[in-house]
Symmetry: C6
Subunit: 236 residues, 6 copies
Amino acid sequence: MDEILNGGIPRRNVVLLSGGPGTGKSIFGQQFLYSGLQAGEPGVLVVLEEHPVQVRVSMSQFGWDVRPYEEKGIFAVVDAFTAGIGEAAKRERYVVRAPDDFQTLLDVVRAAVKDLNARRVVIDSVTTLYITKPMLARGVVMQLKKALSGLGCTSILVSQVSVTERGFGGPGVEHAADGIIRLDLDEIDGTLYRSLIVWKMRGTRHSMRRHPFEITDKGITVYHDRVFKSRTAGRE
Amino acid sequence: MDEILNGGIPRRNVVLLSGGPGTGKSIFGQQFLYSGLQAGEPGVLVVLEEHPVQVRVSMSQFGWDVRPYEEKGIFAVVDAFTAGIGEAAKRERYVVRAPDDFQTLLDVVRAAVKDLNARRVVIDSVTTLYITKPMLARGVVMQLKKALSGLGCTSILVSQVSVTERGFGGPGVEHAADGIIRLDLDEIDGTLYRSLIVWKMRGTRHSMRRHPFEITDKGITVYHDRVFKSRTAGRE
Amino acid sequence: MDEILNGGIPRRNVVLLSGGPGTGKSIFGQQFLYSGLQAGEPGVLVVLEEHPVQVRVSMSQFGWDVRPYEEKGIFAVVDAFTAGIGEAAKRERYVVRAPDDFQTLLDVVRAAVKDLNARRVVIDSVTTLYITKPMLARGVVMQLKKALSGLGCTSILVSQVSVTERGFGGPGVEHAADGIIRLDLDEIDGTLYRSLIVWKMRGTRHSMRRHPFEITDKGITVYHDRVFKSRTAGRE
Amino acid sequence: MDEILNGGIPRRNVVLLSGGPGTGKSIFGQQFLYSGLQAGEPGVLVVLEEHPVQVRVSMSQFGWDVRPYEEKGIFAVVDAFTAGIGEAAKRERYVVRAPDDFQTLLDVVRAAVKDLNARRVVIDSVTTLYITKPMLARGVVMQLKKALSGLGCTSILVSQVSVTERGFGGPGVEHAADGIIRLDLDEIDGTLYRSLIVWKMRGTRHSMRRHPFEITDKGITVYHDRVFKSRTAGRE
Amino acid sequence: MDEILNGGIPRRNVVLLSGGPGTGKSIFGQQFLYSGLQAGEPGVLVVLEEHPVQVRVSMSQFGWDVRPYEEKGIFAVVDAFTAGIGEAAKRERYVVRAPDDFQTLLDVVRAAVKDLNARRVVIDSVTTLYITKPMLARGVVMQLKKALSGLGCTSILVSQVSVTERGFGGPGVEHAADGIIRLDLDEIDGTLYRSLIVWKMRGTRHSMRRHPFEITDKGITVYHDRVFKSRTAGRE
Amino acid sequence: MDEILNGGIPRRNVVLLSGGPGTGKSIFGQQFLYSGLQAGEPGVLVVLEEHPVQVRVSMSQFGWDVRPYEEKGIFAVVDAFTAGIGEAAKRERYVVRAPDDFQTLLDVVRAAVKDLNARRVVIDSVTTLYITKPMLARGVVMQLKKALSGLGCTSILVSQVSVTERGFGGPGVEHAADGIIRLDLDEIDGTLYRSLIVWKMRGTRHSMRRHPFEITDKGITVYHDRVFKSRTAGRE
């Protein structure tokens, strides 16, 4: 991604990572955090869709073992999934006990970021926060942006769109973000293809091309020197 | 399907089986359970759309006689259709007396899974649970996922979409599932064709192709070595 | 239709007969009942859109004189149109006095089916039962299915869709039926063409083709050995 | 139109005359009534959109002078436009004083039909009766059908659709009518063309073609021996 | 326009002038009034979107100086914009003090028309009257039609549609008007083109073609002898 | 832009600057203000989406250092983002303490314009003012237009539309503005292209072409002598 973004996501940017089901959004976000850890940048992963235990298992399948970083205090999972219910949840350090209350969630995220002096934050997914209350979408994203950017973090907000949706998550959300990365999975002549495009990114001269990518057992590999052309043609 | 999924649906995955009317979703789910029985994996079929007696008749038409397995205590039908009304219903072991109350249903399913030590569960259909309350869809799927995955089951949730609908059951549902298998029935030049595609499947490297399939008197046969190409072309 | 359905609609199936205005749904249903009478199968026609007197006149125009069968007690019209108001209505045997109340209608239909020991039932149209209350559609169809199938009848539910609608009557309705037959009327190069397709039919290996048909003064003639191809091509 | 309808609209049929703005619906209806008068069939024109005085002027521009027929008591205008307000309205014989109350309108129409022993009725437009209450559409059309058909009239209900609307007036309305005639005005390569098609007509073998027509100073001329082909092709 | 309308808009007609933003509707209406003044026909311009002072400035830019006509008492601006607030508004003769109250507006318009014995009226725009209350649209247009036609005026109602809207202002509005003139601005291969078409005009044999037009510093010039063909082709 | 607008935006015009996410609307507005400063025209930037501090940083990245102009009292940022909360906000001169109350905002903007004798105003974005209250959109834009035009300012209202939206911000907004400039970002064969078109501009003969533009580290460069043709073709 570095070649495509001309040096990575600029500091303090809040980026919307938008895509349909199965496009690899969660993996992308986890890889962003793990790369940060390897480069010495503390990170926080806020999970709203999956059990924290399951998330660690999924990450380890790509070779991303976060346990040592959790022990060193430079990585944390914020559990906004279990509401603290269940044995495994009791072992989590950061738990949002009322995941339906956005202010509670924001408080726990802020605490985690400060404790770790985190530089990278991923919220998977931000859509969960307003799926039954679409009028709140812009407000939620604006508050996250103020908080995370104010804390000095570079952030990815995972935005789930329907498989038939060409937008990025609604007008309020699309314009509030500093950047938009779109992941796509398209069926062409009976075969599924993965591609991504950086639609917007403040503060950097990003690639203006759509690039193919693959998900292997080591995570996402983007082909920055190839252009994925078929999609537009197939659509119109 | 094993070639297409590279070894079957990974353990504990909750898979959305999405398709329009007449695409073969119920048959697919029943075959998944019957194959499990033959391999020694206990299974539970939760029926919300059809009388349990009729379901057993339908299965037997494909040569899938579940009576011996029911007697051995490794297969069960959960009747969420009759509400216990009628003579035949009185002979059922697992009956959801208030099918409109999701918690009641979940309790009966849990009990059946524990009694049988079930490894496979099919819910036919999950759409019935929120057809008049679409705002609840994501919550229902998330709770099923927590419960079934927590019990160690590999599950198929049948998702009914309209014949004109290209989505898989709505944004909340599509993203909550660990996997999505789509069954299609397309009319091309006056002829109906069946095909399926695995859109998403956590934990395995599945086929990225759309495959033709047939429904014969032995059930579903998927042609894993053939690609069904006409559909995309005909659509755009 | 027998060749297309490979022996007719299987016993106890509840079939959705879906089509736009002018596609011949009522004629199809009446012909289904009249063929039954000729083969010795008692039948019931539930009319919600037309005066029973007018229905008998319409049928006689195709040479289908039902009076003798009514007298023999093997055919009956259930009048869910007049609410018993008017002279002619007083001569009807089966009258639904509160056509807006579905339970009342169901009671009268059940009584008629039992009296005649009916094997075939047509409801023209089922759409009328929920046209102003779409949320009830699935429930109505499910109840009809339980009742009619339970009584041993093979049934046709006429489903009216708009001329521009490609669906069969909504997701709840499409999936609840055991079979779907779609009648179409398409304008191609300034000429109207009739065709039908069996989209789904449990318990039989039906034709997977779209067939042209005609309405003559003897009723509907389906060309089971011809395929109507132009429609798909003209649509995409 | 007689060639196209194979002898005219069958007796007692209630026909929906559907078209966008400027397609000639009012002229078609007026010509239907005037032809009736010339053939000795009394007629009633129910106007909801235009002042009765203006309607008579418009008709006279096509050479259709209805005054002598009004004096002979075989033609009448039912004024459902002015509510009886204004000098000119005071001279009208049939006035609906509460045009928003459908039962009042129905009573006046019934009275006029009986007084004149009318054989033909045109309601211009029926859309006005439910434009702000679409849920009532089917009920209004069904009541008109029962009343007018019961009185022995052949009727035309003018149905206004938007210029971009391909339907005939909504599902409830389309299926309730005995016949549907559609008037179209299409722009092709910068030129407007008029055409009509009979989509449905109970009790007659009508033309299955789309025919061009013109509006001259003598009214509508339909070219029954020509087919208008360009429209479908231009649309798909 | 005279060639296209075969002699101008017929007397007492109420014409809908429909178009997207930037299509020249206001200029067309102002030119219609100024041509009337030059031919000795008094006129009234009802402004709802622009300050009366600004309107006079805009008209003078095309060489249409209305001041002398205002002084002679054969032209008037009805100010339904300022509600009488501001210095400039105090100098206006016809002011609608409650522009949100349609009856007030109608009264002022009636007074102005009677004072001037106006023959031409333009309402710019009628859309403003029901933009937040679409259910009222037909009623507003019908009342204006009764009032203006009753006063002997030929009128233009400016109807604003969205840039993506192909209709003329909604079904109630489209059918209520005696005529419809549509102005379009289309982008074809990176260039904007202006064209207009008369879709409907009672009482005259208007052009059935789409004509290109230009806006110069002398107002609108329509090319009645040229046809604008590209649009339809580019659309389908 | 001067060549395209034939001399710039005419004095007192209120222009809608419409575009999807990532099209460069904010940069366009900032450049408009900075050019004014260089030409001696005082300007006001009203920010609703971004922290004032961040806005100054963003502008400086294009070489637009506004600090000296702020000190000279000919440039001001109106902070309608922070509500005065936070250390940095305390240093701002013009703060809207209740950004949700439109009248408060209007008062602060008026004060700033008067203090600076501002000639140019940019509101980034006007969409924020009615995103959850679309019925208010036209009223908000009309009030801004009256106020800003009345104060003698030439103004740009940034209008955010969704990436899939072809309109400019809704019918009420599109027609209220004196001018419309549209910025686009289109993906063609896997590459993103920027272009703009002036759809409407009162008081000047603007270019009727779509022009390509680029965003470099010096801001926006429009190629007034080139036409961007691909877009229309790719769309239809």
